[in-house]
Amino acid sequence: MMMVKRLGWTIVVVWFAITATFVMATAIPANPARALLGPHSTPEAIAKVEAHYCLDRGFLGRYACFVGNIAKGDLGESFRSKRPVSAIIVEHLWPTVQLALAAIVLQLLVGIPLGVLAAIRRKRWQDHTANLISLLGQSAPAFVIATLAMYVLAYRFGWFPIGGYGDTFGSRLHHLVLPAATLAAAGIAYYARIVRTEMIDVLGEDFIRTARAKGLSERDVVVKHALRNALGPLVTLVGLDLGVMLGGAVVIEFIFAWPGLGRELLQAVLEVDLPLILGVVLVAAIAIAIANLLVDLVYRWLDPRLRDQP
């Protein structure tokens, strides 16, 4: 029953995403037909394109046209490239997913240990350094970190390629490092702080004192008992993080010429390419809604206490 409610809500979210994006996008006064045909276009050619995209109808007419097309699985054609939006999205989805996954992995692999270190070495130099890194990571704009990284590590030192995607598995990983690392920077800072806070809380609890009194090694205390408890909230964060991640990906993909959905969206917005904007934002919203759903399920499965809650 509760599953149905949850599923129903996800559908509402998706519908809202479609409608809201459509409403926002149609408020732009531009006539894309002329832009698409170039300055030499004749009025007749423009009229034909307008009819094709239902641009000549009123607001409700265009909306109906749009929803009808989605039902057919047709997200329209990009104004700029004339290719089906769905094809463009499919093509550029995988690079963004790779980037996001790599960044999440990095956040966990670097952020958690950083937070743990800060917690167990509280008030000492490791803690202060970690805090400083955290502060910088969250305060510096992502594009500053990215540009700096690209300039110093890729251009000057030549350790990494200057943007691009990479063809083989090995070269792909090589191209992935800088973009994923910069995308993960703010998240690492954030995770580190959360973990640190949680760990400190947990380390202060009674059962930890008991474990220590029992003579368990410090490492056992930290990893087996404290960490396990502290990781609870992180699960939620990973799911919610996808939204921030997709947003951050736009800037990173732009700077590193990474052929993902974020960069497509930015180009589409700058060119006022309506079908592509709608398509990408729609897919993004759906992806996040589904991700949230999955995360919710995992969280409940991990923590039985929550299973009965709505």
Partner: protein, 512 residues
């Protein structure tokens, strides 16, 4: 600790080494190799009937040849590259009345699979263009009354009205011969692979009629690379050419002795200025328009473009047939500007809106215009617009009256400059190509006569008088013609920026 710093310093100095590889010094062209270059945008389409944007045209032009084409550009010669020479046609004849164009196809020309190209293939391609609702090229064929193929290898165009620009129109890729349902190449290269949005690779077409002039094995076009990233990749040797250097990069590289010889710049077929809707006050008064011409300091703009531009007096760029090279641009004269404004009834100046494409360089130059105009009491508010909004707004009679004016020629003939932008026949209420809404019967008469005038000198004289009219009437603030800049690796030989095609590497070779 010290070791770390030393290593870091060593690494830091490593990068500004200059070119990685020098030219080998072969006297004659060497066959082989892949030339890699990148473009800021992606290739939109490979269909010659549809592809209209610059990036797609690079690919399309490499794959498809036409009856006639422009001569190759020669580095350092600003007049090279605009003459028309036969390509797929061996020769042609134009009737004295300018209504009949008869082409004899070159013997032995074939598609990339060996099938001979016949006249019917041209007809097929052109019919296809006319039949497509979203083809931007249909309107170039409006003057064509009939196309006939008396024999398999002869093609005759019958025009309804004489149009001296018709030959130039035939250089455009949409006139390339095609076969139904296949994508065979007729140009110097044939498509090898296209990862859409990422990379396009073409390889040498052995069936090309001029294959002897083609030395490269492959051309690799990497899409969607921002220009600053292109430059970095170029420096690291990952690209063989980098285009349209940003102001910062151009400044940097032209100071370097080791790179400077490989930087090219060429005035392209363009004109930049500020366009005014002459039917809307205050621009309906010629004195106001002239005042603005005196007010803007074009030297400032050229300086902002690092000298890669030439001040203009009209719409025809240097090297364009029919240009009156004796005309001097409006001088920078704020006093005269103020006097003219006062005379026109605006002693206290004006408040205007100035629309610009939301493009960094355009915005920068607009700031300069704004500053200059402020000096004579004309206060402008700069409004940036995205391309889509801009395209709609500007062509509309009730749209913004004052905006950045750009003309980028599709073909090298004055018709694509004058007629398109200033003939009264191009005025429409919406999507008007003549977006100054300038209607001058005398100019129309001259342009119509010039369009049909077969004598070259006569024709040139007509266009020169057109130039003088537009200079005096000033529907635009005439500002500059911009150079296209490019830098190539030392081993790239035989390459010059082409005034129309811009980056045509087909006849280059790698001196390695």
């Amino acid at each position: 600790m010290k070791a770390v710093v030393l290593i870091a310093l060593a690494a830091c100095n490593g990068m500004d080494r200059g070119p990685h590889e020098r030219a080998a010094g072969h006297a004659k062209p060497v066959d082989g190799g892949t030339l890699r270059y990148a473009t800021k945008d992606r290739v939109v389409s490979l269909d010659p009937a549809i592809a209209y944007d610059e990036t797609s045209s690079y690919a399309v032009h490499a794959l498809h040849d036409t009856l006639v084409d422009y001569a190759p550009a020669v580095r350092g010669d600003p007049h090279s590259g605009t003459d028309i020479v036969p390509h797929l046609a061996e020769r042609y004849e134009v009737s004295p009345d300018g209504l009949t164009y008869h082409f004899w196809l070159r013997p032995g020309i074939a598609f990339s699979d060996g099938t001979p190209i016949v006249a019917a293939d041209f007809v097929y391609a052109l019919d296809r263009v006319r039949a497509k609702p979203d083809s931007p090229y249909a309107q170039f064929l409006v003057d064509v009354a009939a196309i006939t193929t008396p024999v398999q290898n002869e093609l005759v165009f019958q025009l309804a009205r004489p149009n001296m620009a018709f030959l130039a129109i035939l250089t455009m890729s949409f006139t390339t011969p095609l076969r139904p349902n296949t994508e065979l190449a007729t140009g110097p290269f044939v498509l090898e692979r296209w990862d859409q949005g990422r990379r396009l690779i073409v390889k040498k077409n052995p069936r090309y009629w001029d294959a002897a002039s083609i030395h490269l094995d492959r051309l690799e076009l990497i899409e969607n690379v921002p220009r600053d990233v292109q430059f970095l990749m170029f420096e690291r040797g990952e690209l063989d050419a980098a285009e349209r250097l940003s102001a910062a990069d151009y400044l940097w590289i032209t100071e370097r002795q080791d790179w400077a010889p490989y930087v090219q710049h060429r005035t392209a077929m363009n004109a930049f200025g500020s366009r005014m809707n002459v039917t809307q006050p205050p621009f309906d008064d010629r004195r106001v328009r002239q005042a603005l011409n005196y007010a803007v300091d074009k030297d400032h703009e050229v300086k902002l473009l690092e000298g890669a531009a030439v001040i203009s007096h009209g719409i025809l760029p240097p090297g364009m047939f029919g240009r009156d090279d004796a005309l001097t641009p409006y001088p920078h004269d704020p006093a005269k500007a103020r006097a003219l404004l006062a005379e026109a009834g605006h002693p206290n100046g004006l408040d205007l809106e100035y629309v610009v494409l939301a493009d960094e360089e355009a915005m920068r130059l607009a700031e300069s215009v704004k500053s200059d105009l402020a000096e004579v009491g004309v206060r402008i508010r700069i409004t940036p617009m995205s391309f889509a909004a801009y395209a709609t707004a500007i062509g509309s009679k009730s749209g913004p009256a004052f905006s950045k004016g750009v003309q980028l020629a599709d073909f090298a003939d004055p018709v694509d400059f004058f007629d398109l932008r200033f003939a009264s026949s191009e005025i429409h209420d919406q999507s008007s190509n003549n977006d100054s809404f300038y209607a001058n019967p005398e100019l129309d008469r001259i342009l119509a006569a010039a369009r049909a005038e077969p004598d070259r000198n006569e024709r040139a004289a007509l266009y020169q008088s057109a130039e003088r009219i537009l200079y005096a009437d000033a529907p635009w603030i005439w500002e500059y013609h911009q150079d296209v800049t490019e830098v190539t690796q030392p081993y790239v030989a035989g390459y010059a920026i082409h005034p129309i095609w811009l980056r045509d590497f087909s006849r280059s070779w790698l001196d390695r």
